[in-house]
Assembly symmetry: C2
Homo-oligomer: 242 residues x 2
DNA sequence: CAGCCCCTTCGATCCGAGTCGAAACTTCGT
DNA sequence: ACGAAGTTTCGACTCGGATCGAAGGGGCTG
């Protein structure tokens, strides 16, 4: 009888309003790699004037999607939490692919599909293959909506020079699946996943290029992939060069 | 060097544009229960003029989010697929709760939290509890990003008068987890989940009220919950009445 | 067959939101 | 301390899109 719209569930309009603007989406995608960027850089990425970028950053701050380092004098904006990056992955999972006109755009997309950074962990074919490898070798086991380290899993990781992240220092989950738009699968999220990327980066297995979300697997990294039981990655390191 | 925004990933703006309008979201939420509704009814739910509703329906059709029965003379719109309902659940999972001002709105929200229909299967506390019960009793087992029926699971279901859905008649998954915004957990999606709701509805265990997404568990249904090993549901049937 | 109801299309209106430039403010380097 | 570069705020403009009413077209019913 009440003719108004009285839907009682979550408010999707807030999400939609923030995502309906190309410049804001460009900003969020620029930050999705986990890097903290300055307003001027974000304005360039979004192809808008600095004042416009500032306007958008204020909106995203209000929504709690991004934060900026308070202590530093120069503001650097970044995603508010790893969960925001996972939300973006969720949304990308269901979004249609953007039309790609240029050759550069095509190459960039292929690089993203292959291996990219989702806030602080690996995604793309690399991330999905890693997750499948850990499950196949019974390092992790699916347990409800999260992954559990098996009894032998801890030793398995230590055998590969991984130091396990200590549990419970904050509320972040140890290991959870995160939808991946690349291959319609899941990649590993959570503290373990972040530790793996940190470990691989420190040892030079993967390199994070400047100004891009994509990851480059080095030749040493490809040897490491074999040690981890990852075989699905398509490109050889020489083929990944420009 | 290229100053334009050359992001190569999926286009989130399309999703955002569709979701940025309250009337369109109201229409989608009205259809999320799985019911096929006529334009006039949707216009009432969205609190807009019929012409405006028609405008929105055309946009949602173009996007492929909804379809209408072609054969019938009277058009009834419904979601294009179960996957669309899951997308909405995903989004609701990450969206902030809508502000509730009225008592009716509060009651409606509680009803949705308790038990609701997500296209053709159960969601809310009921759906989450069902999924956990099936996992706990080893009827289903998590296997990557989907659920697998165990060897004993088929008999377990048949013992409860369930006829299993035949696999592979279409491409729809047998059983998959689907994020549930109610309790930050997962409920069961896929063909098995739809079969369970059909079975329960036919036997009068649950009732789908007209003009609402919420489900009502009957007293016979509460007995059935015990048989399925579901104990978490909070309200007794008498307490659920208005 | 006629009348009624419902839905869609079209035209016009209006509001909100994104955009930029100018100006003020802050911070860093010289 | 002063100049330069970067960032934010403010004001004004513009434009896309949501909205409704009127008109046109079917379909069902009496």
């Amino acid at each position: 009888m009440t003719s108004g719209r009285d839907y009682a569930g979550p408010d999707l309009v807030i999400i939609g309003s923030l995502l309906s603007d190309p410049a804001r989406v460009a900003i969020m995608m620029a930050l999705a790699g986990g890097e903290a960027l300055r307003p001027g850089e974000l304005a360039k990425r979004a192809a808008v004037a600095p004042s416009t970028a500032s306007f958008h950053l204020a909106k995203l701050m209000d929504a709690g999607w991004i934060v900026h380092d308070q202590q530093a004098a120069i503001r650097r904006y970044k995603l508010a939490s790893p969960e925001v990056a996972e939300i973006l992955e969720h949304l990308a999972y269901v979004a249609p692919p953007a039309p790609v006109s240029s050759l550069r755009g095509h190459q960039a997309r292929e690089a993203l599909r292959e291996a990219r950074c989702c806030y602080d962990h690996m995604a793309g074919t690399l991330g999905v293959s890693l997750t499948q490898a850990l499950l196949r070798q019974d390092v992790l086991r699916a347990c409800g909506d999260h992954f559990q380290l098996t009894a032998d899993g801890g030793q398995w990781l230590r055998n590969r020079a991984m130091s396990l992240p200590e549990p419970g220092v904050d509320k972040r989950a140890f290991a959870r699946p995160c939808l991946d738009w690349t291959e319609r699968g899941c990649h590993l999220a959570g503290r373990l996943s972040a530790a793996i990327l940190t470990h691989w980066t420190e040892h030079g297995y993967v390199i994070r290029p400047e100004k891009a979300r994509s990851l480059r697997v080095t030749s040493a990294g490809h040897e490491q992939l074999i040690a981890w039981g990852i075989t699905k990655l398509s490109h050889e390191p020489t083929a990944a060069g420009s």
